[in-house]
């Protein structure tokens, strides 16, 4: 599955709490999920951070990427 574009609504949903439901054993994804949950950054900034993260690590996170639009 390709990474959704930055303007896809999934990113704001993930940044607003959806990411905490992701099923993953990848340490970076887990720690980032907690960081996003605790962050006081504006929602668009958090969404952009998640988009950049999954774009960077797409190749080693196929099962996580497949969940992005379902959370």
């Amino acid at each position: 599955m390709a990474i959704p574009a930055l303007n896809h609504p999934c990113w704001q949903k993930l940044a607003a709490g959806g990411l905490s439901k992701i099923r993953t054993q990848h340490l970076g994804t887990q720690l980032l999920a907690k960081r996003i949950e605790r962050s006081t950054d504006p929602l668009p900034a958090r969404a952009a951070e998640l988009h950049a993260f999954f774009t960077k690590w797409e190749r080693i996170l196929p099962t996580e990427v497949a969940q992005l639009t379902t959370l």
């Binding site: 993953t24 340490l27 887990q30 720690l31 999920a33 907690k34 960081r35």
Partner: protein
Amino acid sequence: MNQLISVQAAAELIRQGTPLSLAGPESALDQLPAGNWIGGTIPYFMVPSGGVVVQDGQVFATDLSPAGEVSFASYGPETLGDISRNGPDNGFAVTIIPAGSSSHQKFAAGAANFEDAFLKPTVGWIAGVHLSQLGTVTPKVYDGRTATKYEDRAVVAYVKLPADKLASIEIVNLFEPGTGDLLQFEQTAFEVGQCLVNGQPTNLATYVREHGLENGQLPLVGDFAGAHVNASLQSVGEAGGKVVLYAPVFPGVDYRFAKPVGDYAAAFRARLADQSTDGLALSCNCILNFVFGELEGKAIGGMAGPITFGEIAYQLLNQTMVSVRVH
């Protein structure tokens, strides 16, 4: 190369220009010439045959060149956020910080919030001393470019990977949260007085003593979206006093004291049995696992690296084995 070698052999590698991450006693690192290396003090190591304590003439050397193109930097406590910001777009930053320094404290409290922390990962360890020297000798890190040692800086080796490679940081944490009380904290802190136990304000030192946990063998285990992140107990004050931790606790994270681990060496071997060593660039493990698990002379599954006063995998960890793998 990822092994114990003599100081003389390390010096020769440095003279040849080999980019190295080094660990060893201060007396050994002091003998090395300037060159392409970073280092940190510690005399404890895991090697394939088991845990060892080295004397003055040896260092643990990791040649970083097989992983990628290596460059070096060092940062003071006020500029630690630049570690990830200045990293290569594709690679990782091997970072060593001295235990007990303000750099240690600031990195522990803020690393997860550094710019690009999860795009340009940081891996590494906290330098220490022989346990018999605690309180009398300070841990040091070395910027090998000038062969200068520091008590309060972070030294960094940036490894830039080829475009077709990616790095992933992996951990082995033997500790799982127990089924006991839920502990929460209202501030990011290494020293804790009050906390919430099942929502009720409670003095942590009193709680720890009432539950017989003051020997520090069992860490607090934080739930970071499913990842288990330990905060280990360094000292426990009298009831009503403070608990000092080796890593901070954070607000917004649920903690529980860990379940006991029986045979540490067997547990590590079991966890590592199904893990490939392909692409491993470096590893480290915690001094508390070495001490409480009595790992001296015990093989734990082939991993090799320093036994440290804290581990870095994006952020500071405790009582955890950390590795970086290049895919």
